[in-house]
């Protein structure tokens, strides 16, 4: 990177090349005529790729190159995107245009940018022949993140007798501890960002949230072909599809790449471009957060290892406070959503403290309840779910004197329609899902 480059003034973002050898994928990008940005993805103990999967692998690797570019593109958000190996077919261009526009919507909102009309992947390339079935081994990659959702998915797969491997990207002792507890075989992939990106940051690059689930999904598609899996089963739930807020006519969803739209786009694309028998889905799609926390409340062995908190995430200690900061929206939501389904003393041993009896958390819980505030930009359930959980607690003697529950009863509840606050509707499966036939029994195991 030449020292004079000004990331925010760049004109072109270039997808330079990509390659794979000996368990390492190399993805190369550049801004204008600047130095190459080289990202490496490490696939440990990668077996030799069977020749029959070579074409599919090439397609998946190309998609990974295109999707992972979002981490770099956002540094400058230049007006033009260039592809070294020619234009995309329309379906691929549609997928990427949508991903970059919606996946970066929160980033754009926070930085005061409008990306509409700015993102256009070169299109018009020829569409290849429809992808064949590859006879991939009937086993499932299940990505885990250390939080409750993926663990619920793991247990559903185990209950359905599916053969599965717990997979995660990046170093994390927390995830490693959860993975070990699942008893499944594990696979830990590494993503090594281009060092040049940090240099760009120092030079004043744009920064913010990127659709990381999309990047991980593309990495797993490559991994599925390499190691031999016929399915990738995420644990994204129903509310992930809901917009976080609307701004200037645009829906902004913090977790767009966890939503059903992206799931459908990617699943269709993999079927048509990679292998008709490679499935990509979310097992928890028809379920609301509360249905998932209810399922998780039965999984006692994970209580002392899991965490959904996104602070203190990497350094693990033995105390609950080393896994749960107690102050972020994730901590607030998971606490509240588990509370109706666990004995109170048990819940409190998980968190090490009672967040609902801590007045310092008032604003945080108000935001969850969408009381005087919009929904925070976090992967949390819908406000109505939070209100239903809080209402349930407010009816229980062992909770109702706690500071924030009492406040809810006295101040917020009188403004709400109690008929809208029932817990039960949230516990039912509802809505569209893309779970393939082979894994339907796991979906049902959750019910």
């Amino acid at each position: 990177m030449s020292p004079s480059i000004q990331p925010r003034l760049t004109q072109v973002f270039r997808f330079v090349r990509h390659s794979y050898a000996d368990g390492v994928a190399e993805l190369v990008y550049a801004f204008d005529q600047g130095e190459e940005l080289v990202e490496r993805i490490h696939f440990p103990q990668a077996p030799a790729l069977p020749p029959a999967r070579a074409e599919a692998f090439a397609q998946a690797l190309r998609l990974l190159h295109l999707i992972a570019g979002v981490s770099y593109y956002k540094a400058g958000v230049p007006p033009r995107i260039e592809l070294q190996d020619g234009p995309l077919d329309d379906a691929t261009a549609d997928l990427l245009d949508a991903l970059y526009l919606h996946g970066l919507a929160e980033f754009a909102y926070r930085n005061g940018l409008d990306l509409r009309g700015r993102i256009a992947f070169p299109r018009g390339g020829a569409r290849g022949p429809a992808a064949p079935a590859l006879g991939l081994p009937k086993r499932t990659l299940v990505p885990i993140g250390g939080g409750k959702d993926s663990l619920v998915a793991v247990e559903a797969l185990k209950q359905a007798g599916a053969s599965a491997t717990a997979v995660w990207v990046g170093r994390s002792d927390l995830i490693a501890a959860c993975a070990a507890r699942t008893g499944l075989p594990t696979l830990n992939l590494q993503r090594e960002l281009a060092p040049g990106l940090f240099e760009l940051n120092r030079l004043g690059a744009w920064n913010g949230h990127i659709p990381v689930t999309a990047v991980n999904s593309a990495i797993l598609a490559v991994a599925a072909l390499l190691y031999g899996f016929d399915s990738i089963a995420f644990a994204n739930e129903r509310s992930a599809s809901a917009a976080t807020l609307e701004y200037d006519g645009q829906q902004i969803n913090h977790q767009w790449s966890k939503g059903l739209t992206f799931e459908s786009l990617l699943q269709d694309w993999l079927h048509s471009h990679v292998a008709s028998d490679l499935d990509y889905c979310s097992l928890l799609r028809p379920y609301a957060e509360l249905a998932i926390t209810r399922a998780f409340a039965r999984l006692t062995p994970y209580f002392e290892v899991f965490s959904s908190c996104n602070r203190n995430f990497k350094l693990l200690g033995p105390r609950p406070a080393d896994r749960w900061c107690g102050e972020c929206p994730k901590c607030h939501f998971v606490f509240l959503a588990l509370a109706p389904f666990l004995p109170k003393p048990r819940l409190l041993t998980i968190f090490g403290r009672n967040l609902l009896d801590d007045e310092a958390q008032t604003a945080g819980f108000d935001a969850l309840l969408e009381y005087r505030d919009h929904k925070p930009f976090e992967c949390v359930g819908e406000g109505a779910e939070a209100r239903a959980a809080m209402y349930a607690l407010s009816q229980r003697p062992e909770w109702q004197e706690d500071a924030l529950v009492a406040r809810f009863r006295n101040e917020i509840l009188p403004q709400l329609d109690a008929a809208q606050l029932a817990l039960e509707p949230w516990l039912q499966a509802d809505g569209e899902h893309r779970v393939p036939a082979r894994l339907l029994s796991a979906l049902q195991a959750l019910g």
Binding site: R311, K314, D402
Partner: protein, 851 residues
Amino acid sequence: MKFGGTSVATLPRWQNILELTASRRAEGARVLVVVSALSGITDALKQLCAQGDQGKRIEAARAIAQRHDDLLEHMQLTVPETLAARLADLARLAEEGPAGLGELAWQAQVQAHGELMSSALGAAFLSHSGLPTQWLDARACLAAVALPNQNERTRLLSAMVDAQPDPALSARLAAQGEVFITQGFIARESEGRTVLLGRGGSDTSASYFGALLKALRVEIWTDVAGMFTANPRQVPGARLLQRLDYEEAQEIASTGAKVLHPRCLSPLRLPRVPLLIKDTNRPELSGTRIGPELREEAPSVKAISTRKGITLVSMESVGMWQQVGFLADVFDQFKRHGLSVDLIGSAETNVTVSLDPTENLLDSDVLAALATDLAKVCRVKVIAPCAAVTMVGRGMRSMLHRLHTVMAEFGQHRVHLISQSSNNLNLTFVVDESVVDGLLPQLHEQLVRAGAMRTDDATLFGPTWERLYGSAGGGHEPAWWVDARARLLQLAQERSPRYVYHLDTVRERARALKAKLPVDRLLYAIKANPHPAILRALAAEGLGLECVSPGELARVAETVPAGVPRLFTPNFAPREDYRGALEAGVLVTLDALHPLEHWVETFDGRDISLRVDLGRGLGHHDKVRTGGSTSKFGLPLEQLEAFLHLASARHARVIGLHAHLGSGVLDPGHWAEVYGQLASLAERIPTVEFLNIGGGLGVPSHPGEQPLDLDAVGAALVEAKRLYPRYQLWMEPGRYLVAEAGVLLAKATQLKGKGSWRYLGVDAGMHNLIRPALYDAWHEIVNLSRLDEPASAMYQVVGPICESGDVLGNDRRLPESHEGDVILLATAGAYGQAMSSPYNLRGPAEEIVLD
């Protein structure tokens, strides 16, 4: 003498038992050895009991027999007849299953075989080794009593024995021999069936025998030297308790210590048989002696313990408590729901009780059901998770006045309940569980410092756990001033008071930090001691210098070469200070929004560092804590977004994040934790290049206190850096580098007696060294002129300043001292001269550098 499972599992351990038993025999005592089953055997027998399949039971019995055969083979003994009979019994029980005897009686019979076999094996080994030993069936001696609240299960599997001195039994045994071996854990009930004594059963057996035989003493041989003043895992500086009375020991055992089951003390109380806890591997250690005698001694807190996972139920009701039967009704609800109440606190309109963390409480809806029932008669609040912190010591109420710093410590947290019972043995505070891990070591230290735990009494308090078992071991190197005594005496004779600094010690500390910590930049916080020779020595070691004022910056500029890295981290300083530093090309640290908001252009386009407040403070005294809302330092985290916004608007780049939580921190994991917290913040700030985790590395001041384990600090930081490799790690130690390198030399001026108090006046005072007055800091004080004489006097060491707070040390044991003696105050190299004042116009102490 009682030996546990691991003590009887191998040949070397049996040789140990042989030696110990023979040594007691040699003292002229008759010995009864009580043994547990070989380690793992009781569990194996329980599994056998749970096995429905006859074939598998027989197989399990065979495996158990094999364990004993293997041990006998090591002992080069053939299977003795007594053991062969037991093995045959066990095989028969395994084959028959529970049908004949009934499930519970069969289980008791099966499980009893662990001890029956180990004792038979032991009798053979001891006798064969030249110590004739009689095998005694415990069931012939210990008769279980049926209690009204027992059911069939508790009668058979956790039985009680009413052990009264039985002279007939003593006489019978005396006629049979000198050495006996018998079984722990088992007894016989009135119908002649074998019963078990339940948890802590073997220790309890030993106590029962001690009472029956009115023994000289009961010795519990285990893997630790006794009871400690706190859980050594939480407080490595916990001291061995060498003497306790029954009640104190029982209280300590019930509130935390695991070494002894509380139930094994009560049988000994009436016959006044003492109990001794000893470490099998370290028989030379004195252990803990628990007995009836109340020696003449100053009241002292003996131990502090914590129990976690406590749930409080607070019941509030106006004016109802005086109604007859109301409390009875309330407590009846707890009984109905099977919940056992532990602590109770009450007021006119409120009763709060505590519940221990049982499985029932954690995994069933019992609490919800209880709350629902209680809510019908009062307002219920469930407060959890809590922890009970209990201080134990006879005469607790007479020590309350010494506990003010301890109370102040509790005052910083939510205390939900305080309980003290009329036996005056304990004082319990119930607080939020989340604070208790950090609290315990501090409270332990406060108790020592406040003189509430009289660790200076060597008859009561033994060595620290760390010294007995810790990795640090080895003890301390002697301080440099012991070797330099002659030179120091000469210096003090020339003139006093004088500060003396030993530069090699400064360099040694700097090199140790560089070698052991994965730091990218070390900056010496020069406020600790800005003496030019020290600045030059540390700059020569490659350290940068951290300043907090224009004066310090000027000192640095005139002392060290311009290339030495500098950092300016003032607090509430005027804007000129920042401008001056920036103009001199020094990186500045901000810790408020104000400068960016109001001082237009000052920081435009600059690289800056930001000090954040991670929301909590640490340290040995309130006034050295620099984190938390009550501290004036650092930007609160909720203002971070606003700060970044302002910085971005001014094109100022935040290249470093800094936090410093306080001084005197001895927890080796602390700095890695700060690094991790800063890193998780930095991940949202792409311009950050370094994380400055401050200093606060603790320096031991009391004799026997363990130094900070730098290797452990380094290991934790290496791990933290592995997880967040992107950032440079900066640290800014101050006191750690210079404290031990400096001493303050003074001469004795006058002596005075006042009642029982003896004052030793010296010519140095709070104008030279204000730390004792300001922070209650403890500086070791020695009479350098009489270093070799016995410390037979106890002095209040005071200075010449007209201020009642001019006390350098309370209750110090020193040799009888005389006018003109040279008195040395140790660890005075940091914040000594630097914080001195002209008060009383006595002039400053001179500073001498030894290089």
